[in-house]
């Protein structure tokens, strides 16, 4: 059951530009050491309503492992390079680009479309933005997915990553505009 919301949630505020030494940490964007078998590059660009890359967004991903298990291993902040904790954080560079080293998430349930949960913070964003990065393969599973099915085709495509020749994933984010990424709200949140 969903418990009653008895208390008013504390309002969010923008992350601002100066999280400098606070949030980034060593190997924050490497969920595994690059080059380990099965690792892929997940990358893209964050753009504003003018289509300009923004230099001060912070992204977090949270995902199942390759077998579809939800990790519950500590060790995200002090990484050993080998323990897959499923969580990563990346500040975009001066040209709005982010890069994670991770693995393809497995389906958490039989026949489900695997996705990576993505959170976006930034100067100018007064509150976080949630979205999902779906893997492009298995069109049957994508077609069955409840969230994707509820979207018009042109918006649906903003949630599906592009597979690159080297096995990596490209996923661009538009905060506004014609290609505005679909951002999510959750009940009670």
């Amino acid at each position: 059951m969903t418990p009653e919301q008895k208390l008013q949630p504390t309002p969010a505020q923008t992350i601002g530009p100066f999280y400098g030494y606070a949030l980034p940490f060593d190997r924050d964007s490497q969920l595994l050491a690059p080059g380990l078998p099965g690792t892929i590059r997940l990358h893209g660009t964050v753009r504003d309503g003018d289509g300009e890359p923004i230099p001060d967004a912070l992204l977090e991903i949270w995902q199942a492992d390759a077998a579809g298990n939800v990790p519950q291993e500590p060790g995200s902040l002090v990484r050993d390079g080998y323990t897959f904790t499923g969580w990563g954080r990346a500040a975009v560079d001066g040209a709005g680009n982010y890069t994670f080293t991770t693995v393809n998430p497995g389906a958490t349930e039989e026949g489900a479309a695997p996705f990576i949960s993505l959170l976006i913070f930034g100067r100018g964003l007064t509150n976080k933005l949630h979205t999902r990065i779906y893997l492009p393969e298995n069109e049957d599973a994508l077609a069955r997915d409840r969230l994707l099915a509820s979207l018009p085709p042109e918006r649906r495509s903003t949630l599906i990553a592009e597979r690159e020749a080297d096995g990596g994933l490209r996923f661009d984010i538009s905060l506004q505009g014609a290609n505005e990424t679909v951002f999510l709200s959750f009940p009670g949140a």
């Binding site: 309002p11 530009p17 509150n127 969230l147």
Partner: protein, 272 residues
């Protein structure tokens, strides 16, 4: 003094570096807030979160989604949070005054409180991260060029894990207000940034804690992105003399409520 003086202060150049006066910004804020209050009188729901589209905060203009957020039922990974353990966070990281060889300058403060979910249950063993300017209003950050002194004994970064009753505690220095480029003569009220995780990833929260009685509240377009007065007040800590330490530090309490947990409750949690 005029335009040039703070040319380099907190500079983020861009189309959104507005040159509006405080009067113009304040009048835009008043208009949005009064329209919100009228909506409440007409039966519209209370807003508990900041407006994403809030033009007086100029950086939001090109960065807020223009389409409604899409309602989704959280699934699998969204119903869990990453795990953090004591190998991730050292106990001493909650004291921001001992990270260098000397004492930082400014008013030493203790900030403590509890992290709860919407049902009032403690959020246990989750990561809390804070960051802030020093007592002169300057961050250790290469983009922060505000001509206030850097304190060699203060980085302004802390972490802790919440305890079993959801409590957190930091020892730090009261941050100073600082100018920023939103509009002419724009100053941020003193604040500490907080980053929090709940038991579900959907509960993730980044916010700012403010200090009671700050004269800059009504002028600040970031604080005022929250149109509802009661919701705004929830970001202001309480001076608490029982937290104040004899000849050592003044004390503040601030509790944080995350959104309702969506995960099915475990038996042993229900027994709480």
């Amino acid at each position: 003094m005029e335009e040039g003086l703070f040319q380099d202060s907190h500079v983020i150049e861009g189309p959104d570096s507005a040159q509006a006066s405080q009067d113009e910004i304040s009048s835009e804020i008043r208009e949005i807030h009064s329209s919100y209050r009228k909506g409440i009188e007409d039966g519209l729901p209370q807003e508990t979160q900041p407006r994403r589209d809030f033009a007086p905060y100029r950086s939001s203009i090109l960065r807020h989604p223009t389409k409604d957020l899409h309602h989704a039922d959280p699934e699998t990974i969204e119903l869990w949070s990453p795990a953090f353990g004591h190998q991730d966070v050292h106990a001493l990281e909650s004291d921001l005054t001992i990270q260098h060889n000397g004492e930082p300058l400014g008013e030493r403060i203790i900030v403590k409180g509890r992290v709860l979910d919407g049902a009032g249950r403690p959020v246990r063993n989750q990561l809390v991260e804070i960051w802030q300017a020093n007592s002169a209003g300057r961050y250790i950050h290469k983009r922060d060029q505000h001509p206030a002194p850097i304190d060699p004994n203060f980085t302004g970064v802390g972490r802790c894990l919440t305890s079993d009753d959801g409590s957190y505690e930091f020892t730090t220095i009261k941050p100073g207000p600082y100018p920023w480029k939103n509009h002419y003569n724009a100053w941020r009220p003193a604040h500490i940034h907080f980053s929090l995780f709940g038991t579900d990833f959907t509960q993730r929260l980044v916010t700012q804690m403010y200090f009671p009685g700050d004269p800059l509240f009504s002028l600040d377009p970031i604080y005022q992105t929250i149109t509802d007065a009661r919701a705004r007040d929830a970001l202001v800590a309480t001076y608490d003399h029982s937290v104040t330490a004899h000849e050592w530090a003044t004390g503040y309490t601030w509790d944080i409520v995350l959104s309702g947990s969506n995960r099915t409750w475990m038996e042993d949690e229900d027994a709480e």
